[in-house]
């Protein structure tokens, strides 16, 4: 039988994978993908809690699912802007490697 904790552990592991991707990889596009993984880990725990709190009418708590809807929307906007910035950078520098883009580095 699956408990709430199982979903939370999967969510935590997915978040950690995304976090490790952001920390370790040096390709901007892969970093954006790892960010998506982290957002989705948050979505998974939100949906698990939504299913966990059954209200008096016998339905899951749909507030969390509305929140997930908002997160997905913001993530889509974020990816679109991020990839546009990557394309603009690539035109300027011919690279997607973060260590080649150090203009702002102190």
């Amino acid at each position: 039988m699956v408990t709430l904790g199982h979903y939370l552990i999967v969510s935590g592991m997915l978040f950690t994978i995304g976090f490790a991707g952001v920390m370790l990889r040096r390709n901007i596009i892969i970093i954006l993908m790892a960010l998506e993984l982290m957002l989705n880990a948050a979505n998974l725990s939100l949906v698990a809690f939504s299913r966990f709190h059954v209200d008096s009418t016998g339905a899951p708590n749909y507030n969390a699912q509305v929140f997930v809807f908002f997160i997905i929307t913001v993530a889509a906007a974020e990816v679109a802007v991020g990839l546009a910035i990557v394309v603009a950078l690539f035109r300027l520098r011919q690279t997607t490697h973060v260590e080649d883009i150090t203009t702002l580095k102190f």
């Binding site: 699956v2 408990t3 709430l4 904790g5 939370l8 999967v10 935590g12 592991m13 997915l14 978040f15 950690t16 994978i17 976090f19 490790a20 991707g21 920390m23 370790l24 390709n27 596009i29 892969i30 993908m33 790892a34 998506e36 993984l37 989705n40 979505n43 998974l44 949906v47 698990a48 939504s50 299913r51 966990f52 059954v54 016998g58 339905a59 899951p60 749909y62 507030n63 699912q65 509305v66 997930v68 809807f69 908002f70 997905i72 929307t73 913001v74 993530a75 889509a76 906007a77 974020e78 990816v79 679109a80 802007v81 990839l83 546009a84 990557v86 394309v87 690539f90 997607t96 490697h97």
Partner: protein, 154 residues
């Protein structure tokens, strides 16, 4: 799903990474369906596995990225990243371990959940009407920003 999530950050070839991400998102959509969240599961497949991943693959192929060649790896920075990620995972696990509700089973659902699109729609347009409109503006601004960013300077 976790295996393909890990494959996203292990693969050297960006196209393989993106395809692993698609499989990972499909597995996540299956988990959403198992939690009786049909609307969110379908949105996940349509928006993430459909739209966002097509965008990623399009950009990867547009930029013609090859598998990155092995560069000299900064071992201290990598070890630091691994340590911080492991610490984060251990912390998450200890929090879940102390959380008593995490050991409880999901309560049974007396009602049907097949009308969740209807319920989410009602909630979205009644209680969350203002955030919904704000999110519309956010998407509009993002669209304008993308067009502005990708226009060639002349």
């Amino acid at each position: 799903m976790l295996i393909f999530g890990a494959a996203v950050i292990i693969n050297r070839n960006p196209v393989a990474s993106a395809l692993s991400l698609v499989v990972s998102f499909l597995g996540l959509a299956a988990l959403f369906l198992s939690l009786d969240a049909f609307f969110v599961g379908i949105i996940q497949v349509l928006v993430y596995a459909g739209a966002i991943m097509v965008l990623f693959l399009f950009i990867i192929m547009l930029l013609d990225l090859r598998a990155e060649k092995l560069r000299k790896i900064n071992w201290i920075a990598s070890a630091g990243g691994v340590v911080v990620a492991t610490a984060l995972m251990l912390q998450i696990f200890s929090v879940i371990g102390k959380f008593s509700a995490a050991r409880e089973h999901f309560p049974p659902l007396p009602g049907s959940t097949s009308d969740d699109v209807h319920r989410i729609g009602l909630l979205l347009f009644n209680n969350y009407n203002l955030p919904f409109q704000v999110i519309g503006v956010v998407i509009l601004v993002a669209t304008i920003g993308v067009v502005g960013l990708s226009r060639r300077e002349s």
